[in-house]
């Protein structure tokens, strides 16, 4: 690989081993060596590979949804910092402080909108990322030999869960009506677990009534505990991608190449001898060394990642300038709003807990437990176990809609469709007292107080 171009003598003064002589890094490498150095020596980029498999960078393979999710997470941390200075986690002052952020603080409503929109889009992006990984069979170990992609899929499922918990704990911080009744319903779902439920609820809300102890608990979860956990898992998720040989698409290319290369080998007789002498053609598992298929991460990967990340920032910044964040009336334990709706990404669950109470032989099962605990647990269990249930061949790794995975893809898409449909029903068709109304039907007039 000694193809490094000649560099001008002044550019590379002799330096002691292990010493990086320049204050920064090269963003315009003139040699492979400099390109590698630009990644390895850069604190922000050192977790990138020096070289990447070209087709992994295709926009149409991954849609860069993982990168977009990470960009949104970064944006959430950054936009959360000023909010940390402005928000007061007390039941008396939380609502007022959010109101101030929205109407008094200069650029406050924009920062809050950036934070809120990033959160909403992150739920969507992480979910779509999961859909993409499923449909491309990217949790499969195409090359085998020590790959553990299935565990990275499990980490990913946990990260989706953490994203949802972060959203939940976030939208109750304003301590408005939405917040108060979301906590009421959310913690009562936990309380519906037989035997231990009421204790779990008490631990969650720090008492028997939703009060200061509840707010400070969810606040700490939102600003320290859950982001810390998500950050740690994010780092591990990235590291595993590297250690599993990059995106699943690399495996596909490697298997194809191996097949091509193997055929002529079989017809030759010198193979065994050649192996012993070390002269037989060596086939690499992942063909990252193949020059025709790889590019230097600096600049090709970095440029595309920058487009994805900065593009996400730009879209959010512009959207946040036009979309204001809602704030309902201050939390009022005395009045439940009608209808009381969860945010859109929980509406399918709200639909399910509505429809799953049933009675067998005089024994009633609460929909809160069946739809709110059992069913989500089963979905999580199925998602987690799926890589071990998936018996498709290695060729199906990193390919959109591979023929051998037709049935499971159809099943998965059907499940996604059900969730989307329930979300639509909850969003557009539910009115007062959670009754069904067509969008063009007027809701009945209801007294605000009885």
């Amino acid at each position: 690989m000694a193809t490094a171009a000649k560099t001008p003598p002044d550019a590379e003064a002799p330096s002691a081993p292990g010493v990086h002589p320049k204050p920064f890094w090269s963003f315009k490498p003139r040699s492979d060596r400099e390109a590698g150095d630009a990644i390895v020596a850069n604190f922000a980029l050192h977790w990138f590979p020096a070289k990447v498999f070209k087709p992994s960078l295709d926009w149409s393979y991954s849609f860069w949804l993982g990168t977009v999710s990470a960009a949104l997470l970064l944006l959430l941390v950054v936009s959360g910092l000023p909010l940390l200075f402005l928000y007061v986690p007390s039941v008396e002052r939380a609502y007022g402080s959010v109101k101030d952020i929205e109407w008094v603080v200069t650029f406050g409503s924009w920062i809050r909108s950036v934070h809120r929109l990033s959160a909403h889009l992150m739920v969507a992006a992480v979910f779509l990322h999961l859909v993409r990984v499923f449909l491309t069979g990217a949790y499969k170990n195409g090359a085998g030999r020590g790959q553990r992609r299935q565990w990275n899929w499990v980490i990913g499922v946990v990260m989706l869960l953490l994203t949802l918990f972060l959203s939940f704990t976030g939208y109750l911080l304003p301590w408005d009506q939405l917040a108060f009744w979301a906590v009421t319903v959310g913690t009562n779902i936990a309380a519906s677990i037989p035997w231990v439920g009421p204790e779990i609820r008490e631990l969650l809300i720090g008492g028997r009534n939703i009060d200061q102890a509840t707010l400070i608990r969810f606040y700490v979860l939102h600003v320290i505990f859950l982001p810390g956990l998500l950050g740690a898992l994010f780092a591990y998720h990235m590291w595993r991608i590297r250690k599993d040989g990059g995106l699943a698409r690399v495996d596909r290319a490697a298997t194809l190449r191996e097949k091509q290369a193997e055929e002529p080998v079989k017809t030759k007789t010198y193979t065994l001898l050649g192996v012993a002498r070390g002269t037989a053609p060596a086939i690499r598992a992942a063909s990252l060394e193949a020059r025709d298929l790889t590019v230097n991460a600096m600049p090709d990967l970095v440029r595309r990642a920058a487009v994805a990340v900065l593009g996400t920032f730009a879209v959010i910044s512009v959207l946040a300038s036009f979309i204001r964040s809602p704030l309902e009336e201050a939390a009022n334990a005395l009045v439940t709003p009608n209808p009381a709706k969860a945010p859109w990404y929980f509406l399918w669950l709200q639909e399910i807990v509505t429809d799953t109470t049933f009675t067998i032989a005089g024994f009633t099962v609460n929909g809160a437990f069946l739809g709110g605990v059992i069913l989500p647990s089963l979905i999580l269990l199925a998602l987690t176990a799926w890589p071990w249930l998936d018996r498709s061949p290695a060729e199906a790794t990193g390919v959109w809609f591979h023929g051998s995975r037709r049935k499971q893809n159809a099943f998965f898409l059907l499940a996604v469709l059900v969730v989307v449909l329930l979300t639509i029903v909850g969003t557009f068709l539910r009115g007062p007292s959670w009754q069904l109304f067509w969008p063009w039907q007027a809701w009945p007039e209801l007294p605000t107080r009885i």
Partner: protein, 171 residues
């Protein structure tokens, strides 16, 4: 047993001791931290609450938002029904019936003026708190009512659920 061997045994033993001590230490600290989050004192509102003089209650129904309670009066007879939905704890709303109905409640006829609907997941209850439709797994609770001996106020005991045959007759 050779000296080599016993040295190796000792090293393994000490390593296991070290790891064990570490696990116990961190485990205890974690348990202590978690335990501190379980409240020892409850500052919750008391469950026995004075509601006012019986004469302050109108004939029919009165909603007490702080207690999340409906108090019904029919002449001298009182009973109280919880407004907390048994599904997921939202506050149900009372809807006045177009015509008061008489139904059998707890073995005795009762004039029923309202029914209840939950805004969160659409449960509906009849005027005596029974589930009419929706995801609610059981009927709205009825609570014990008494008259306070010191000032004659109506007192509800929110920790004391009673059957649907409960009636308090105030002299």
């Amino acid at each position: 047993m050779s000296e080599e061997h016993s040295k190796k045994d000792r090293r393994e033993f000490l390593v296991k001791m070290g790891i064990g001590a570490g696990v116990v230490g961190i485990g205890t600290q974690a348990a202590a931290s978690l335990r501190s989050l379980l409240p020892n004192v409850s500052y919750d509102a008391p469950t026995t609450v004075k509601l006012g003089l019986p004469t302050d209650f109108p004939d029919g129904m009165k909603f007490l938002p702080e207690q999340r309670l409906f108090v019904f009066r029919e002449g001298k007879v009182f009973h109280a029904v919880s407004a907390v939905c048994t599904h997921l704890g939202c506050t149900v709303r009372a809807e006045a019936l177009p015509q008061p109905e008489t139904m059998e409640v707890g073995g005795a006829p009762m004039r029923v003026t309202h029914r209840f609907a939950c805004p969160c997941h659409g449960s509906k209850y009849t005027g005596d708190g029974k589930v009419a439709s929706g995801p609610a797994p059981k009927a709205l609770a009825w609570y014990h009512l008494t008259v306070s001996t010191d000032d004659g106020q109506l007192v509800v005991d929110l920790a004391n659920e009673v059957g649907r045959d409960f009636r308090l007759t105030v002299a």
